[in-house]
Symmetry: C2
Subunit: 698 residues, 2 copies
């Protein structure tokens, strides 16, 4: 950890600046919370009026605060802040939490004040959290610098980092009701200095934190975040709720890849690289976090369901399938053992339905057999309020069984009041419980997701051979912003080891015929103009010309079509390209995201690519697993293996092309976006050819 | 209502058969619940041992039960049931709830007993609910025939009909905790007589029921359910949680339509026709039900968000977009009025962020302006535990404002303990509250869905002109089960007014040339064999033959290819078809679902239809709105309007084809499945042609 951040995490003494005697004021709440939190360092209350508060003297001036003091928490008007920070620096304070608002969020004047605060902090080496934030809670140290209403945050093993302060108040209260405990809470506010990336590793490194959760409205630096989060994810699960999906006005994109990417594709690709699990809702994030904090990880996706009624079993099967899990096939040994315990009418197939008479000891014995079955990776145990026993009794009976095995168990206690005793027993034993099978299945799904992503965090990006970055740089050097001409684009791809369809420029019809004779019929004619990106839209493409006469007429036609559609465009001539044998046409592309850098896209191409949306994205440069993932997530990729009368294509060549285009984008930051549409994958062993290439540079 | 069902809903007297003095037995719970429920009719407890229970005499024999008695609730072993039912019938009981299990769910012997019970009931005109069910609760009558543990079910306006009894116990307890009230609960068990369709209309007709919810594991008769539910949906919302998505082993399907349909497509299409709103999870169903019970319906999808912090506003915007809602654009009047109330740093754009200092009266005043704005159809009001006021205070301030307007309001009180007072105030005022914006957005979305589906319930299916059912019947008459030959299929489609691509059978190469000369080049050659459904898979198709020579060679080639691939297939020859001008190729098809009858499919065709899965289904016969819906749900349908260089196609002709194929399937039940792949939609005004048709009959 950057040692300058240490005072936020383990302060020796804290000065609360701006405390109040009025219990309705935030400055009172701040003092109350820190004093009642059990913080064992020195607490210094500061207010110009002095006096005494909650048994502590109130110091009139920051200069008079005694040692030790390394952290200040400040509530004051924004205008006073620069002066207070100077006083803090002079007094030797190393880090400050500016809880007060009135800065960037209010406009230009506030933004200037915020920058002034940063300048003062930088000069003295002081670190800042905020402004406009709630502060920090550490339930284990313990310490509470917030002014949140009591009761205090529930103690646990989940850390919560939030861009929104208002969310924190609701989340702490909500988690308390759910029996979900926090190890810490970190409100970031305007992030003038410390941001989600800076704080992530120190937060995760607390030994009492098992899972880190993030509420994110954006990211300070996408690539830095990915790098840090990937490091953290190797040893602790990181979950994120990213909001603001629809806020950012999308710039008009010139390429298919750009049009399809949008901001969320970049976040999804970034989270995937980083091993961050993205939740859909606030409640989902915390339910998942609790399961990850409390459960071992499963060895596979096979789940056994134990229930005392048919309906909940059906609901559970559905929900498990929807979450990508499988109903475990029970071994004959397991079925035999179950048959000895259960009545004849019980169902011994998964879901195991013990019937309504099942008593706590039946739950325990059956569960034990299920957990012993090598074909079972995790279990879901379900009970409605039992007619002839109690949920508490069932919980008590199954807890030791679950604790004796290293497999995840999600317990569903359907109901509320009538199952409360069971809920409390399970929470005390740190076994996740749920009200309905749907949430339990979602939690078991995320445990599998976590188990499977861990190996991916060790992957390294592939480095393609036969690339010539110098040659590529020379080609890009001095080119005007906009689209590269087709010949430069082809050379550029050639320099990165792509098979490119031979493609020569004819400046008149006779040269076109001569080029066609050289490369061989049939040929495709495409109008050559950097100003006409979508050539087929203007009738600038003719396919399948089979002899000199067709080429001659075709030349004149495509040029005339292009002239009519775009009279001002500079037309260089017509490219002549031998038409390749049949294969599978796909699109590969890249787009440079302002936050996350280059993304690689793969999917179904053609003119309909933007309508079909059969595309997937990953961060460049690609690991092998990510490249394969792009193929698996799309129909275009899955059908490369062959489908009905569609011959299997050269899948390896497509993977290779994905890696190459990613590397090209990474190596040359002036490239904004690229589309290869189509990349034609020939039958296995015959390679893949870039047929039409568009490259836009800065 | 069928008057024979009346004793289940308004019994004059109830005999509880099988009561017990042992408080741990279900027979005790049943007596306790009915007596404590406040039921005002006669209660008769029956047990051979006699005595007294809970202040009521226990009658030893059914024959001795005095008047009035029209409903019996029976807990006894399955073997005793026939005798008990006979006694009940003899005593004049009109309806019986068989709560006991031990019937069909336990195997063949139990199934036989169940049928015996049904026979006895039928003979005497007695109606049966169950066996193996929980019974009925009516919280308004009131009446409780169940043995569920106290406390009793919470009173409210939502009726719950369930195929699972076990789910009921959990749901009642859960709803109590959520402050969601039930008007009634109806547990159906094995449905030997009364099923979800029989009971739906009587349940919905109770004046104190505002919304009907269903937990369904299947359907007794799909078409009957759709008809009944569509009638009910016209005046009351019906919500369903359908489980068992993955249980039914799918039969191997011979057509693309069949392969893509599956059981869930039929349920989705049935629910759509019926106006039943399908929920994804148990919790979602009841949250939606409460919103529908308590809220007026919105006039449109524009939502205003009122909050006191930025973060929750961003979360709300995201969630609203995800649920298909729009952020309302506030009028200049509204913005001006808000600016008079709010501090300068507040955000007057939607979401309206009043900032953290907002007091209850600020919420009330701002909310009033938002609800008055004609561009606002509904509102979401959000507060985290407020630092300087209370959630209770805010709730109290906004309740009269919401009640004074006829627009839906979803109130988000983020937290638990700290917002409880506000939660209670809102529930008492019947205004739906939520813990996070995501759930509130989902509820507002369902209100819009309900508002929009009401007009669709008045739609009538379109009846196509120029159809000749007699001719079609004659063509189908006597044909063997399996695929029709292509010429019969073409005639069949011709008889229903389809444009079919002219398509003649040549039995040798010379006849092929002669047919091609007649219809005009270029032509397509396709091997003709009822045993080769996927012709292109075996090389049995040649496209674009341009002269006699190509046709002659092509004939020999496709026959040879087919012979090699399927040596045993009976090959009739080769069909010759003029190749149509370019257009947009789509697939239309039908499949006969065992429960819901014929479904129409529409989507992207070609050989990749099963991979792309760009298809949608609806029940035949189609209404205009349903046909349009099939187009709007698919990329294949949306691009008929034109896309880039793709010329707009004859959309009306495609809609017409969908209606015709649906009618064809409805009129002729022997048709199991049909695919038109492709149907070629020519440019606007030029029609759509069925090019390749496959019809499978019983």
């Amino acid at each position: 950890m950057d040692s300058s951040l240490a005072p936020f995490f383990t302060p020796a003494g804290i000065a609360l600046i701006g405390v109040s005697h009025d219990p309705s004021k935030l400055g009172y709440g701040m003092a109350r919370n820190l004093i009642q939190s059990g913080y064992t360092g020195s607490v210094h209350l500061v207010n110009p009026h002095g006096g005494e508060l909650l048994g502590h003297p109130v110091i009139k001036s920051i200069a008079d605060v005694p040692n030790p003091v390394d952290l200040a928490v400040i509530l004051a008007s924004a205008g006073q802040m620069p002066g207070i920070l100077k006083d803090c620096a002079a007094r030797g304070v190393k880090a400050a939490i500016i809880a007060a608002g009135g800065f960037r969020e209010t406009g230009a004047e506030g933004a200037a004040l915020e920058q002034e605060c940063l300048r003062i902090a930088r000069e003295s080496g002081m670190r800042l959290l905020g402004p406009n934030c709630i502060g920090i809670i550490d339930t284990h140290l313990p310490m509470d610098t917030t002014f949140l209403q009591p009761p205090p945050a529930p103690v646990g093993e989940i850390a919560f980092i939030s861009h929104s302060g208002a969310i924190c108040a609701g989340v702490v209260d909500y988690l308390r009701g759910q029996g979900i405990g926090l190890s810490g809470l970190y409100s970031l506010g305007n992030q003038v200095d410390v941001n989600e990336t800076t704080i992530l590793e120190p937060v995760a490194s607390a030994p009492y934190t098992s899972v880190v959760t993030l509420y994110m409205e954006g990211v300070s630096s996408g690539r830095d975040f990915v790098e840090t989060a990937r490091r953290v994810s190797r040893w602790k699960p990181v979950l994120a709720l990213k909001v603001g999906r629809f806020d950012a006005g999308r710039k008009a994109a010139a390429s298919h890849t750009g049009a399809l990417a949008g901001q969320e594709a970049a976040f999804d690709a970034g989270f995937q690289r980083a091993g961050v699990i993205r939740a859909g809702t606030t409640e989902e994030m915390f339910r998942w976090a609790r399961a990850l904090a409390w459960s071992p990880l499963p060895a596979g996706r096979n789940v056994a369901v134990l229930t005392n009624a048919g309906g909940p079993g059906v609901t559970a099967s559905d929900a498990l399938e929807l979450n990508g899990l499988k109903m475990a096939v029970l071994s004959s040994t397991t079925r035999e053992e179950l048959s000895k315990i259960l009545p004849a009418a019980a169902s011994l197939r998964n879901p195991v339905d013990m019937l309504a008479q099942a008593m706590p000891e039946d739950y325990a014995r059956c569960l034990s057999f299920l957990l012993e079955d090598p074909g079972v990776d995790s279990v879901m145990v379900i009970t409605p309020p039992p007619p002839s026993s109690s949920a508490g009794g069932i919980a008590k009976a199954i807890i030791p069984i679950i604790q004796a095995h290293q497999k995840p168990a999600a317990v569903v206690l359907m109901g509320d009041l009538l199952v409360q005793e069971g809920v409390q027993f399970l929470r005390a034993a740190r076994i996740p419980e749920f009200t309905f099978p749907e949430d339990a299945a979602s939690a078991l799904g995320v445990l599998s997701q976590r188990a499977e992503l861990i190996p991916a965090l060790e992957d390294e990006p592939l480095i393609p051979d036969r690339i010539n970055p110098q040659a590529a740089a020379a080609l890009l050097q001095g080119k005007p912003a906009g689209f590269l001409s087709q010949d430069v684009a082809l050379d550029l791809f050639g320099s990165y080891g792509f098979n490119v369809a031979r493609n020569d420029l004819a400046v008149d019809a006779e040269q076109a015929v001569s080029l066609a004779e050289t490369c061989g019929y049939p040929v495709a004619l495409k109008v050559a103009s950097a100003e006409i990106p979508h050539k087929s839209d203007v009738g600038g493409v003719l396919l399948g010309a089979k002899n000199g006469d067709e080429v001659r007429k075709g030349y004149l036609q495509v040029v005339e079509n292009a002239r009519r559609a775009k009279p001002d465009a500079n037309i260089e001539g017509v490219t002549i390209q031998r038409m390749l044998p049949a294969g599978q046409d796909v699109i590969v592309g890249t787009i440079r995201d302002p936050q996350f850098g280059p993304l690689v896209m793969f999917g179904s191409g053609g003119v309909e690519v933007e309508g079909l949306k059969d595309v997937a994205f990953a961060l460049a440069p690609l690991t092998r697993r990510e490249a394969v993932g792009l193929l698996e997530k799309t129909w275009a990729g899955r059908k490369l293996n062959g489908y009905r009368n569609l011959v299997a294509a050269d899948r390896e060549a497509v993977l290779d092309a994905l890696v190459r285009i990613g590397q090209l984008a990474v190596d040359h930051p002036s490239i904004l976006e690229m589309d290869v549409n189509p990349l034609r994958a020939l039958p296995q062993g015959q390679g893949a050819y870039a047929i039409d290439i568009r490259v836009r540079i800065e």
